[in-house]
Amino acid sequence: MFATRHAAIYKQPLFTVRKFDALKNEAPPLFICYSLINRAQILDLTEEVSFIRTLNEKGHTVYLVDWHYVKQSGVTVTYQDYTEHYLKQAVEETLHDSGLDRISVVGICQGGNLATSYALKYPATVSAIAFINTPFDFQTKNDALSNLIKKMQVQDFIDVTGDVPGKMLTQFFIALRPFQFIFKTVSNADGDVKRAFDSWLQQPPDVAGTTLLTYLKLGYLHNDFPQLVTKLDQESLEHPFLNIIAKDDHIVPFAASNALERLIIRHSIESCIVPGGHIGLFLDQKTRREICTRISSWTQKKDSADELRSQQPAGNDC
């Protein structure tokens, strides 16, 4: 369930495009591409804790591609299906509804990688991309997740399981910080937010095995995203790249995300470093507002293909 009132402008078995109207019409619409791991409801848990509503308050109408449970779709899907077919459909519907030719995309975690692959295929539909907690260099030194995955026989596992159970993925991420999870489970006060969060955590979608395997190969096993980002940098984008990084992200380490700084040469890039962890930055009110303010100002800035990297501002705390 999403907390904020919205309209489903397009629906098919694998995803819905949801439209959350701006509360004032002062800023350009945004298209959010969420990860295939866990559900996008974390962006709109309650009226008080809603990343999407905060963007609405700043004048952005938000279009969200909400991925469905794979098993409910009844089809086998590949990574390319997502990036070249489903995202294409979702963006087309968004452009049609908004009357725009191109739209600014906000990619969250793996959603940023999906958006990168999509934008390379259909650059004319994307005016710019902001990333939140997205990994680019999957083989940085202290990346615990990367170091584990490289040693695990993931192809064998996916051959056996087919679609990968969402609950297993959740347990895997918890296994990276079990003690912190225990403390938060106990110490967080009961209430609407905790109940909504627990519900979100306990209902992760299964992920299509073929899709996940391709993603693991592109990322953790072959580390292809730096090259893909370099290609994307050659496309004509209207705004600088914006890279929002949580300082204490244990799933996407700072170095993995901050690698974007050295990969973007042609365009300018703004980095915004915020306190918190992979999910915590959406839950903390101050951080959430900082991020949304930064995204809002980013949509007002124009970039030029001729702009030199040396003219851009350095990465900084929000």
Partner: protein, 110 residues
Amino acid sequence: MNPDIEDIQKLGEEILASAAEWLLANPSSPWHDLSKALLNFFIYLYQCAFTALKEIAENASAFASLNSTEQLRQWSERSQAYYTALLQAEPFQEAFAACFNAYTEYLRRA
């Protein structure tokens, strides 16, 4: 370094028994809801099966003596710091992966 399955099985059983005993003895504790998370974690410990994890297990056994949220916070921070460092250790990563791969094999045979 290969995990010693018998040692790990024993360790897992001890931890599970300890946790169950404490939870049964403290039914009204606000920490009782934690049982599921703890169980998942102890199963994880059991699966990971690595000698160094005994240090964490000893830390975990101190859980029963905690009597305030602040103590729990300190305990979880200490344990997490140790565990995070452990995650960077190559032998631990290999043990983790070995368990995962064994689980895959178990699924295949099942």
